[in-house]
Amino acid sequence: MARMKFLCDADRCIECNACVTACKNEHEVPWGINRRRVVTLNDGLPGERSVSMACMHCTDAPCAAVCPVDCFYTTDDAVVLHNKDTCIGCGYCSYACPFGAPQYPQTANFGTRGKMDKCTYCSGGPEPDMSQAEYVKYGANRLAEGKLPLCAEMCSTKALLAGDGDIIADIYRERVVTRGYGSGAWGWRTAYGETVTV
């Protein structure tokens, strides 16, 4: 099985936010939640770069370590998913996540947190693949259809790569060697304890 990862080539990202929009549309993401976002570093300064970030589907995910109800699980493709039926909206995972992935819709009085929502790597949840119940809770399951996450698939500059970690690392490495520069595989060190060395 593949070890799925995201890699954002910051030297290609043009901050068009199409990945953000595509994600929201594909999964009917609740109001106020962005499963993916684009952060611009050194904004307006020389060397400005933008990075598209979502759940990185960490190895030994910190969210899973702190979840009091153990609602997280890792699929065979190494995608970190969670069960919204078990989730109690305590918020611990959002404090454990280095990437700000877990978010909560405000569903009840006093701004109480609802069930946590985050990037599913376009692979749904524990319900049967491509079922209506799965779609309502987690959004589309593109992986079950044999497709990669939509954010990366429709990226106009091919900055955002999704797929097996080794393959996308090779693609990125080749780019860096060809053009002579690269600002790094953002988040890889934090998520997987490794960097893409070129």
Binding site: P62, V69, P98
Partner: protein, 331 residues
């Protein structure tokens, strides 16, 4: 001649390239100032523990791109807190079981006299039991958040455990308020009698009379052991209340790092205080004959009072003649 001209051209080209090359490098290097993950990690300082930038969505906190520090809190919360909580609670239960096996139940040595003294009035008992009931639920639901997924979940399954914990979270959030009210009430009612004095040193020196039969160090209304319980509850409870309110309203904490700190303090105090309260429940029920009446009916047997709070009995008697607070049962 042909060779010469070719040689001259070659020289010219080489000279031209030699001059042009450095200029070209200086012009086309888009990465000279580009941010790299390495450089941003190096620039991280203690206060700003995030690689951050600008976002175009309303949620400003989404501008934090990577916060590697969060992983250390996760490791502490997912491992250390769990271990410490189990050690504190299970350790105390084991200690008490050993104590019970060695010392047995502490009896009223001179037997029950049948005469009762009023020790705690209705308000005292109301405050105590409000705090006790809420604390027990808070402790159980809190422990459930820490160790439930390893202890309870395998027994009742994920679905039932999720529902249970969701209700537990609600109970924890809302019962915290009556707990805090009772905490303030208890403080006001009993602080006068819980100020440490010289008698406490003597009480501690004699081990409180807990370890040997026939030893009864003098004590007023509260002995040194009870004062330790009182101040643990007051200070621990205040700490839990403050950190708890900060966690309940995350907007009040300055940064997520502050929230993590409050959470760690909350969990550690809770583990310690739960262990202390387990000991308090033991000595107030199974561990000592006649002790439960103080908070049950509010009236204790005179002989129990003389053995454990001799000076207090004298005070009560001196204050109100011989009859009033001491009632003899109708015969």
């Amino acid at each position: 001649m042909r060779y010469l001209s070719q040689f001259m051209i070659a020289i010219a080209v080489l000279v031209f390239m030699g001059q042009a090359a450095p200029v070209a490098v200086a012009q086309v290097n888009p990465t000279a100032n580009s941010v790299t993950e390495d450089s941003m990690f190096e620039a991280l300082t203690g206060d700003e523990n995030a690689v951050a930038g600008r976002v175009s969505i309303p949620d400003r906190s989404a501008g934090n791109l990577i916060k590697p520090e969060n992983k250390s809190w996760a490791a502490f919360q997912g491992g250390t807190v769990q271990t410490l909580s189990i050690i504190a609670v299970v350790g105390m239960v084991v200690l008490l079981a050993l104590f019970y096996m060695i010392r047995g139940r502490i009896r009223v040595e001179s037997g029950f006299s049948g005469r009762k003294i009023l020790r705690f009035g209705a308000i005292d008992r109301f405050a105590h039991w409000t705090m006790a009931a809420t604390f027990i639920i808070l402790a159980l639901t809190g422990l459930n958040l820490i160790v439930g997924s390893t202890v309870v979940l395998p027994i009742i399954g994920e679905g039932a455990f999720g529902t249970l914990t969701a209700f537990g979270k609600l109970a924890h959030n809302y019962l915290a308020w009556p707990f805090m009210v009772a905490l303030v009430l208890v403080f006001i009612l009993w602080v006068i009698d819980n100020i440490p004095n010289k008698l406490d040193l003597e009480w501690i020196k004699q081990g409180g009379g807990l370890l040997k039969k026939g030893v009864h160090p003098p004590a007023k209304k509260f002995n040194a052991g009870q004062k330790v319980i009182f101040w643990s509850v007051i200070l621990g409870g205040a700490g839990l209340s403050f950190t708890g309110v900060m966690m309940l309203f995350p907007g009040m904490t300055a940064t997520p790092a502050d929230w993590q700190l409050y959470q760690m303090i909350h969990a550690l105090i809770a583990a310690g205080l739960t262990a202390i309260i387990v000991a308090h429940i033991y000595i107030g029920s199974v561990g000592m004959e006649g002790a439960f009446d103080a908070m049950g009916t509010g009236e204790v047997d005179e002989n129990w009072a003389k053995e454990h709070h001799g000076l207090w009995v004298d005070e009560v008697k001196a204050k109100s003649g011989k009859t009033s607070p001491i009632s003899t049962p109708a015969e």
